[in-house]
Assembly symmetry: C2
Homo-oligomer: 184 residues x 2
């Protein structure tokens, strides 16, 4: 941020009085511009022993497989955001069930949340503007080496482990910079 979005005057980075962090402050109108972490909301759609994944059509990680998810928008709930993204990326209408994971990713200032969603039928889009391919994978066929993001990989791993153990749990944890997946 270089200019005040309220008055167009250049901003200065300084710690406002009573605060303890540097903010973009307008030296003309006094507006303090805060930036905060963003939420990525998505689902883990399941149907008859299969999990739906989307092959990303856009960067980052184009061509890699992901659970349908995206940035939560103003005015919606976590579940509404997750369901909207699932419709946009996979072409399916879902209802969100249990919260599977809430994962802080501090080095990119994001929190990723995924809900379990039981698909009513096996129907889904073949592809969408955001997905090169949409596909149901049997548990044994999940393309582990081609998963787009660590939050997706760990959500899938926890879900499958919990399923074996007989109890689906809500996982709350962090992913650090060192845990990021490398492009092959």
């Amino acid at each position: 941020m270089k200019f005040c979005s309220e008055c167009a005057h250049p901003v200065q980075y300084e710690i406002p009085e009573g605060d303890n962090r540097e903010r973009a402050v307008c030296t003309s109108c006094g507006t303090i511009h805060y930036t905060n972490p963003r939420i990525v909301a998505g689902t883990l759609p399941v149907y008859d022993g299969q999990i739906l994944l989307c092959k990303r059509a856009i960067e980052p990680r184009k061509g890699f497989w992901t659970l349908p998810a995206g940035f939560m928008e103003n005015g919606e709930s976590l579940e509404q955001g997750a369901a909207r993204e699932t419709l946009e990326e996979a072409g399916i209408h879902v209802t969100c069930g249990q919260l599977l994971s809430s994962i802080s990713v501090p080095h990119i200032s994001q929190v990723h949340v995924f809900f379990l969603s039981e698909m009513a039928t096996s129907d889904h889009a073949e592809k969408t503007s955001e997905s090169l391919e949409v596909k149901l994978f049997k548990f044994d066929d999940i393309p582990w080496d081609d998963i787009a993001f660590p939050t997706v990989k760990q959500t899938l791993e926890h879900y499958l482990n919990d399923l074996k153990a007989g109890q689906i749990q809500t996982r709350v944890f962090d992913i650090q910079f060192k845990d990021r997946l490398r492009t092959k």
Copy 2:
């Protein structure tokens, strides 16, 4: 937002190509300015059958009681944000335990999360710059009529009910505009 924070040109509200929502778009440099929901992270600090609450020193809801909580900052995890706010508002160092609640508040574009935190001792600040008073309340003495926010009230209610039932659960739900608490 009236001006582009990158080039100071006036922004226009329109739906960018490939999008389905109105955004502030700079007609000069082309920057699209997104705004997204913010996360409020906090704790429910407990010590020996008592819950710590803070009387708010600042608006909104000045003079009402709240659990220590505030806006999550870039670069931190949910737990780090919750612990930092607890230190700032109540003067105690806590470790976050179980996630108690994750509550979407769509009409103000916020998500509130609260973690259970067991206090090591009963020590806490008498007051802080953000709290007129900090106090441990026995369960029966919680000032239900003077709680600042519905997310705080419902987190407290769920916790106490779960405690009676013998199992603390993670609650994921929404609070709508109609559920807001009215100033007396």
